[in-house]
Structures are given as structure tokens and as C-alpha cells.
């Protein structure tokens, strides 16, 4: 008898514990949902740039000149990603990207995907590709390079894609990812 009583007691305690955990989860859940919803709301029409390395999220925003964009803009960074660990995402309502903008994004976020949204649906998914030659996107870090002293479009060769390493067509200086500054 005593054994059965003790067993029941243990069962009750376990049940209560489980209930407490469940209650805690429920209490937390809506907040998390709301937060996510606030961070990355869906757009009716426009472009979503996904899988941006977290340190390049704001560079992408800069490339797309989102500061001056009149439509809806959502920028989120440090999001969990199965693919890349942590990622950034940029949603821009009412904007489609030019090939030049896609090229620029490829330089700072070589693994990014560009989703074209129409009527809340992904109409097209483009995987950006780091080009072999980057025209007029990167500023040369060499202060005595002719491109920083005369009106001339810059040109860089991609010598290594991961981690990104580029070489200036003019002064021949190599630059790593950390030195790359977008024009």
C-alpha cells in the first residue's frame, strides 16, 4: 500500500512539474511570436534579401540606399539560421533590385538569396554569385591609388571567394573582406 501511495505522490509531483513547465512555455510563447512578427513582417510586393552574414546586414541596407526608401523596410539581424548560424534579413517593399545592386550585394554577402515577392508570395528566388570582376562597387583602400585621386571607376578582380579577397585592377593591391568598403 505504502509503495503505491509513494508512487502516486511521485506521479503527482511530476505532473505538477510538467504543468509548471508548460505554463512557462505558454507564457513565453506569444511574446516570442509577437517579437518575430514585429521584426520581419511580410511584404505584399518587393524584395527580400535573406541569408546575409550578420556583419553585412547594414552594408546591404546601405547598398540599397534604404535610408531614402519611401516604402516599407524591415531589417533584422542576428537571427538564428540553420544554414549559416546567424544571419541578417532585409525586406524592402515596392522595390526590385537592379543587376548592379545584386552584384554589389554579392560582394558583401556571397551566400545571400534575393527573393522577389509578388502578392505576398515568393515569385522568384535568386542565389547571388560573387562575380570574377567587380566594376565600380568597391572603394580601393590604398589612399595613393589613382582611383582615389582621379575620377575613375574602380575595378577589382576576385582572387578568392571564401573568404573574399579582391585585387585592384589599377594599383594591384589585394584587400581582404574586412578592408572592403562599398562606394
Amino acid at each position: 500500500m505504502a509503495k503505491r501511495k509513494k508512487k502516486k505522490q511521485v506521479q503527482r509531483r511530476t505532473k505538477r512539474k510538467k504543468e509548471r513547465i508548460k505554463a512557462k512555455k505558454v507564457a513565453n510563447a506569444p511574446k516570442e511570436e509577437i517579437k518575430k512578427e514585429l521584426k520581419i513582417s511580410a511584404i505584399e510586393e518587393g524584395t527580400v534579401v535573406d541569408h546575409i552574414p550578420t556583419d553585412a546586414t547594414f552594408k546591404v541596407a546601405e547598398i540599397l540606399d534604404l535610408e531614402n526608401h519611401k516604402g516599407i523596410v524591415s531589417i533584422a539581424t542576428n537571427l538564428q539560421s540553420k544554414k549559416v548560424g546567424k544571419k541578417g534579413i532585409v525586406k524592402v517593399g515596392g522595390k526590385s533590385l537592379t543587376p548592379e545592386e545584386v552584384n554589389k550585394i554579392a560582394v558583401v554577402a556571397p551566400d545571400a538569396t534575393v527573393n522577389i515577392i509578388k502578392n505576398y508570395q515568393v515569385k522568384e528566388k535568386i542565389k547571388v554569385k560573387a562575380p570574377d570582376v567587380v566594376d565600380n562597387v568597391i572603394k580601393c583602400s590604398n589612399p595613393v591609388c589613382i582611383t582615389n585621386n582621379e575620377q575613375v571607376a574602380t575595378k577589382f578582380y576576385v582572387v578568392k571567394k571564401d573568404p573574399l579577397k579582391v585585387k585592384c585592377h589599377y594599383c594591384e593591391r589585394s584587400m581582404g573582406k574586412e578592408e572592403i568598403e562599398i562606394i
Partner: protein, 318 residues
């Protein structure tokens, strides 16, 4: 009489007409060997009127002695004419004219341009602006390809070959563009390199990476005497005072390596010493009269090298 590398005596022809000479990185091993063959040809059989009626524009936005004078002398010896300037203060640059416009204007007056400019990449831009060939006489601390070709030609003459040599570079390897370009150019010829400099003036990582990718064997050290017996050629460079904002730093390094009679006791009998000049105190005058000194011959090779390049880009030699 010196023996040339096998490939040099093979008959092959390349068309360099209208080609720009901007960076040593633009040339393949075969092209370099071809140029060296033409240099030998022109040195052995000078053709005095080869460039008669042609005009060379020497645009020297920065001071130069050897490069400018040897180009002028080379052009004169081949019967050509020279126009140009040797200080940008006397030109429209002072009025704010862009390099692009200066080149666009010059190409109307000349058949070939030789340019020295303090900004890196300026020669490449000039070549894009000009429809006539442009030869880079030095763009900042980036490239000086005609110096590299004359260095290669000197090695070929004094050692009889370019392949399998043990070559030491000593001095300012960090800023010395001659060292950077020569190391890359010689990487085609299975060399072993010894980079001798204090850590502060060692060869930049980007060049070492490039050599590593090209599977070139190299050693870094600050001790010249330790490896002196290994060397076939020692390329000495000046520690450049203008590179040191702190004069005390310069004092610390300026006499760190001194090539003198005592040093020559510990080298191979046939070691050759090169220097792009000007020298300050890194090579003692007593070395000049030894069989090791090759730096004046090196300077003299500037003439046939520049003659050959002018003739090639003007399409007068194929």
C-alpha cells in the same frame, strides 16, 4: 660570352606592337624570355635608325635620373625624337588638368609614352586613356617593369641562366618595389629565395602568399652571414630614409647590412652583387673593383632593355 637559357635560343616570334608595358604581372614566362632575346639581339647588333621618325613622350610627374635618361638615350640611339617634361610643376597639371586629359592630349603629339607618376595605378589608367603604347617608368611603389626586365637581363648575363638560382634580397624588402616585382618575375624559373631583413622591413605577406601559391621555395631571416654561402646572386636595396617618419628608426636600420671586404670572405666565389642604385652606404666602394660587383653593369643594361621595349611596342621588331 655568356650562355643563354635553352628557351632563349628557340625561334619564336611574338607581336608586341601597341602593347603597353605596365606591370610585370601581365607577362608570361614565354613573353619575358622573348623580350630578353630581343634585348640580346639589340645589344649585339644595334640598329641605329630603327625608330627614325618616331616620337617618344617622356611624362615624368616625379623625379627620376636613371629611368628618364636611359629612355631618352635609348630613343636617341635608335634615331627617334623626344618630347616631354620632368616635373609636373611646369605643366597644366598645376592648373588642375586630369591625368586622363593629359594623356589624351599627349597621344596627339607622340608615338609612344613613358610615364612616371607618384600615384599607384596611374600607368594602367594612362594605358586605358591612350591609343598609343604606354610604358610604365614607375607608378608610386607599385610597379617598375622596365627595371625588372633589366634586372632579369643582368642575371641572365652574369650567371648565364635564370633557372635554379639561389637569390638573396637584402635591405628594405617591405617598400622596395624592385624586389617585389623581381621576385614575382623570377618565380617562373624555379629559384630559391632568401629574404634578409629585420621584421619591420620584411617582404609583405601578400607577396609571400603569391610565392607560396607559385610553389616557390623561400626563407626569411635577418642574419645575412648565416646564409651568405648559399647565394648565387645577392640583390641589395637601399633602406629608404623617406619611408621612416621617425629619424631614429631610420638610424637603427640604415647600417644594419653592409656589404664590404669582410663580408666577401664568406661568400661563393662566383656570387654576384646587384643593386638598383642609388646606393648610400650599403655597399662599400671597395666592392666595386671585385668580380662580385654587377651593379654598374646592371645600370648599363638599362639602355638595351629600353631600346628593345621601345622597338617592340612600336612594332619595329617582331
Amino acid at each position: 660570352m655568356f650562355i643563354y637559357h635553352d628557351l632563349l635560343i628557340l625561334f619564336f616570334s611574338m607581336d608586341f606592337k601597341n602593347k603597353d608595358i605596365i606591370s610585370i604581372n601581365d607577362f608570361s614566362k614565354e613573353e619575358l624570355l622573348y623580350i630578353l632575346r630581343v634585348v640580346r639581339q639589340i645589344e649585339q647588333k644595334p640598329k641605329n635608325n630603327l625608330l627614325k621618325g618616331k616620337i617618344l613622350a617622356t611624362l615624368f610627374f616625379e623625379a627620376s635620373t636613371r629611368t628618364r635618361l636611359s629612355f631618352m638615350s635609348a630613343m636617341e640611339q635608335l634615331g627617334g625624337e623626344i618630347i616631354g617634361f620632368s616635373a609636373s610643376s611646369t605643366t597644366s597639371i598645376q592648373k588642375g588638368e586630369s591625368l586622363w586629359d593629359t594623356i589624351k592630349m599627349t597621344e596627339q603629339y607622340a608615338d609612344v609614352i613613358v610615364m612616371r607618376h607618384p600615384l599607384e595605378g596611374s600607368a594602367r589608367l594612362a594605358a586605358e586613356a591612350a591609343s598609343i603604347p604606354v610604358i610604365n617608368g614607375g607608378d608610386g611603389s607599385n610597379q617598375h617593369p622596365t627595371q625588372t626586365i633589366l634586372d632579369m637581363y643582368t642575371i641572365l648575363k652574369i650567371k648565364g641562366k635564370l633557372e635554379d638560382l639561389h637569390i638573396g634580397f637584402v635591405g628594405d624588402l617591405k617598400y622596395g618595389r624592385t624586389v617585389h616585382s623581381l621576385a614575382i618575375a623570377l618565380s617562373h624559373f624555379n629559384p630559391v629565395f632568401y629574404f634578409i631583413a629585420p621584421d619591420e622591413l620584411q617582404m609583405p605577406e601578400s607577396y609571400l602568399d603569391e610565392l607560396f601559391q607559385r610553389k616557390v621555395k623561400y626563407y626569411k631571416t635577418s642574419d645575412l652571414t648565416r646564409i651568405s654561402k648559399e647565394l648565387d646572386v645577392l640583390y641589395v636595396t637601399r633602406i629608404q630614409k623617406e619611408r621612416f617618419p621617425d629619424p631614429l628608426e631610420y638610424e637603427k636600420f640604415k647600417d644594419m647590412y653592409r656589404i664590404d671586404g669582410a663580408f666577401l670572405q664568406h661568400v661563393k666565389k662566383d656570387l654576384k652583387i646587384m643593386h638598383p642604385l642609388p646606393r648610400v652606404s650599403e655597399i662599400d666602394k671597395s666592392v666595386d673593383n671585385t668580380s662580385h660587383a654587377a651593379y654598374f653593369e646592371q645600370a648599363a643594361n638599362g639602355i638595351p632593355v629600353r631600346k628593345a621595349l621601345l622597338a617592340l611596342v612600336l612594332g619595329k621588331i617582331k
